[in-house]
Amino acid sequence: MDAGDIKIEVKELSLIFGKKKAQALKMLEQGAGKAEILEKTRCTVGVNKANLQIKTGEIFVIMGLSGSGKSTLLRCLNRLISPTAGDVIVNKVNITKEDNKALLETRRIEMSMVFQKFALLPHRTVLENAAFGLEIRGEDKEQRLQVAQEALESVGLKGFENQLPSQLSGGMQQRVGLARALANNPEVLLMDEAFSALDPLIKSDMQDELIELQEKLKKTIVFITHDLDEAIKLGDRIAIMKDGVIEQIGTAEDILKKPASDYVKAFVEKVDRKAIITAGSLMFRKPNTVTLEKDGPESVLRKIRESAFEVLPVINKNKVFEGFIWLPEVLKAKKQNAESIKDFITTTCPSVYPEVTVEEMLPLITNTKSSIAVVDEATGRLLGVVTQTSLVIESTRFNKEEIVELKEQASEQ
């Protein structure tokens, strides 16, 4: 790695919460663990001798269970918390040695942060919130509102400028949080579980948008999550933390294939199996559909030909899922000169809600050859389809025995 590529470097960084820091630090250097130090000194180890290098323009994900020190490590990067030992070097400048004034400048210019619970000012409008960083920096009003306006537009919030945060949904509030960070035009974005408080579908949208934005903006992003799925989707590289220690740093592939420790292995497997991977995140959105009231055999046939699938989902005019229609059935309908395909659709087919996991979906494919429809719980509308192929790809992360077992369980029921 060329040194010029490195935006942030963390060297031997330790952070200890509590009174007897010196004693705890000494024990840490002698190799004592978090539990032992807590017992002997009543100090909590937040971060334990972390080393990492974050490259310019990458999305670097820090992942770990609750309490593993992710937030603490992130807050050391802009010194919201000052490290007990070690160095943080941003753009070749050692942040840990900066005086107060230089530190404020770093926060105002080089790094912006996005928070899990949005942390917006409730008494200010969306626009004023987005301009907050610039206001702190001391830019004049006209200028900052204009920049904030542009930032809001870039996250798709045009038209919401004069609303208050409480009038927006969680996803939109976090867009404001993102716009506030982008308005400062920093080189580094620090995102602490920025999407964790959002609904699965909105979360997935936000992830897509972040990736899209990143392609344009090429920021250096440090993103914290406890969600493996999210880490894999967003991260160019992923660091896994446990008890303040960085256990492994690598690409998603590295971590899934060659877990560096039993912990990482367990973590990866556990997350996999409990399957945060849901129908909502796996589904193919906006599939080609057939509308029951509208499409006759001819037009269905054309759609099937166009989409190159043998089977298409059928919805009614309210977009409520009705079933699947298979090619042979369409041909039959055509032969019989049927007006409508109503009597030819397969209605005994599985459909799931977006939050259903791969694990739960797997048994369903034993009884059908079609894709699985994903429908909205409240309205029954079709949201997308999960193809068998993608399910199988997901499930190859399971052992063969487990798949057999799941299938057996399913057929017993």
């Binding site: 919201l80 926060r107 000012l121 206001e135 702190i136 920096r137 609303q163």
Partner: protein, 288 residues
């Protein structure tokens, strides 16, 4: 019963020492204070009563709604018709002066208490004492320092009325969510910027609730201060008691009640008006 410990003696000694050594300071305070109070009084009394009533009515109309506005106007008119207008304005002047002085001290103190646990630990028992001590007791040092009149009345009132404003300011600031403060810090805000752009605006409603309570307590104390010749409605109430004049007592008491309700409703509404705006806007949003 025999006294074994004589705290009163030490308090007396302390007050004596203060009056002996700081007499010029007390005189200065008294002069400046009296001049200010009389200035406010002059303004309120020389303005025609209907103008004062109209202004208060309008304020109520815009901030608290039609009901409060009508009540305020009718109530104040009744006071005028009962012949207590000048006394009421005198009491108002004393309330305004005392409240301003109380707030000037209470707000910084409340902010300090919110920021420093040690300060809070020291202040809290003092506030408890100030609030639970029978109100009459404050009249004694007030008279000793400043003899009788309006300023000693204001002095006692300030001490009595200050605690809720300190408490609620501290409470309001402590209630500001930590993550919002952290966000401000992460964007490079200084402590001063955090105070003025985040903490005070978010604590505003709670602080205004404290202001409301301070005003109400000031009103009750101003009546008591009638005992040391502070003038106003208090003196009328006292006159009613002394002469066992039930008519006078009732009328002046009624004037106090009207004044209390008017001040309470209007200042309460001030605290809620920004909240209400938020609520009604979000309702509009939902209906869409």
């Amino acid at each position: 019963m025999e006294k074994i410990i004589n705290i009163g003696e030490y308090i007396e000694l302390a007050v004596d020492w203060l009056t002996d050594n700081f007499a010029p300071v007390f005189d200065l305070i008294k002069n400046v204070g009296n001049t200010s109070i009389e200035g406010i009084e002059w303004l309120l009394v020389t303005t025609p009563f209907y103008v004062v009533i109209a202004l208060i009515g309008l304020l109520a109309l815009f901030k608290a709604g039609r009901g409060v506005a009508i009540f305020s106007a009718c109530g104040l008119l009744l006071i005028y018709l009962m012949g207590f207008w000048v006394e009421t304005m005198e009491s108002m002047a004393l309330i305004v002066f005392s409240t301003v002085i109380a707030l000037v001290q209470a707000l910084p103190l409340g902010i300090w208490a919110a920021k420093s646990e040690r300060v809070e630990r020291i202040i809290r028992p003092v506030l408890d004492l100030m609030q639970t001590m029978p109100a009459f007791v404050y009249l004694i040092p007030a008279v000793l320092f400043f003899s009788i009149g309006k300023l000693p009345g204001a002095f006692a009132t300030v001490i009595f009325a200050m605690p809720p404003a300190v408490r609620l300011t501290a409470l309001g600031i402590k209630q500001v969510p930590a993550d919002i403060k952290e966000a401000a810090r992460a964007f490079g805000a200084t402590n001063k910027q955090i105070l003025f752009k985040v903490e005070l605006p978010l604590a505003l409603n709670t602080i205004l609730a404290g202001v409301n309570q301070t005003i109400m307590m000031a009103l009750s104390m101003v009546v008591i201060a009638g005992m040391i010749a502070a003038g106003g409605l208090g003196e009328k109430v006292l006159e009613g008691i002394n002469n066992l004049d039930i008519g006078l007592g009732f009328e002046s008491g009624l004037a106090v009640v009207i004044l209390a309700i008017v001040l309470d409703r209007i200042t309460q509404a001030l605290g809620q008006s920004n909240k209400k705006k938020v609520v009604s806007l979000s309702n509009i949003f939902k209906r869409k």
